[in-house]
Symmetry: C2
Subunit: 214 residues, 2 copies
């Protein structure tokens, strides 16, 4: 088993967050880190960190830990496509605007190339630096931008229709903020972010809090 061409979801997730910590290390001039330091910055154990790095095939040295710059580049090679990834957003409501603002502030290799909304008043202007197109232009603009990721920030009752249009237009992965499960072809990745559910879960666990080990 050499480098597999895909890693477990949880590992990918942690790689994304390790990367942020590593960038901070570089900013602070730290050239090397130990697994227990990376672990402390996350909610993880040193063993977990070592296992993740083993999984992706990155080695450190017992005496000096892991090379920050080297690891950062190594993770980048796994996570980032050579040519950068373009995303599109559908639904320029309150949440959509906030997301656009969010992504312009970010130093991720991802960028939101275009947004769509069906309200004529929202179309034609740039929102936080992102052009807003009418929904009709969805297929055309996705083709032009070669976007592969879509962000669904529309009401639940139209989310699935929009998602299917995105997929038909060439989108391969979705982040869905609508409070519904999308029924999609099985080769399309979908990550649901359901804010209400998250709040309800936290409220539940807060009421039933059980102290763990410190």
């Amino acid at each position: 088993m050499n480098t597999p061409n895909h890693y477990p979801d949880r590992t990918v997730e942690r790689l994304c967050t390790y990367r942020r910590t590593l960038r901070r290390c570089l900013d602070e001039g730290k050239a090397r880190v130990f697994s227990h330091q990376l672990a402390a910055a996350h909610q993880a154990t040193p063993a977990q960190v070592r296992r993740d790095l083993m999984t992706i095939g990155f080695s450190g040295s017992p005496a000096r830990g892991y090379d920050v710059a080297g690891l950062l580049e190594f993770i980048g090679d796994i996570l980032d496509p050579p040519s950068g990834t373009a995303a599109v957003l559908v639904g320029v409501g309150h949440l959509g605007r906030a997301l656009l603002a969010h992504f312009t502030r970010d130093r991720s290799p991802l960028h939101v190339a275009a947004a769509f909304d069906n309200a004529p008043a929202k179309v034609g202007v740039d929102v936080h630096g992102c052009p807003v197109h009418p929904l009709d232009a969805l297929e055309r603009v996705i083709g032009e931008t070669r976007a592969t990721v879509g962000i669904v920030a529309v009401p639940g009752d139209v989310a699935e229709d929009i998602a299917l249009r995105l997929v038909t237009a060439g989108i391969r992965g979705l982040v869905n903020f609508a409070p519904v499960i999308l029924h999609l072809p099985s080769d399309v990745t979908c990550e649901d972010i359901d804010i209400t559910v998250s709040l309800e879960k936290v409220a539940y666990h807060a009421r039933h809090a059980r102290a763990h080990v410190a």
Copy 2:
């Protein structure tokens, strides 16, 4: 093993979403559902649904499935505190505003009782029906509203300070939108929603898409 006083995280999560589906059923006048129908509306198998309902101790009938109204009430008794839950939000930026808009539109038993921001220009007005207070008032307002859940929508570099203040003021659960891991007492629940990480994950999986069974 009678009713334990807390259920696994994944089960709680699904209960939240089942509830939404059940409400839709009631709206449509459907009085009974089968496990496979609930499963189809989620990304779940019928066995998973039956297991969840078994876990919480709710029974159906082989001939007629599960009673929608009864199950809805049963789940409500588990998820909702008798007196409702108040939440507070810190950080009335783009995302904070979007979240306030989101929660006013929701028929969840949770409500956001107050928001906080340190920018004087934002303080004193209502945003989507929610009063915005200065940060100084955090402890006082949490005491008055008896809020138990906090939403962190501030920049990463101040998120942990804010979170610790919330906890000290009596908050028992957090939803964290800042792109950092919060180090909190172990009896405080925290759910991280990291939008950038979600996008990066989806972009990764979209590139490495492997077709599953349809």
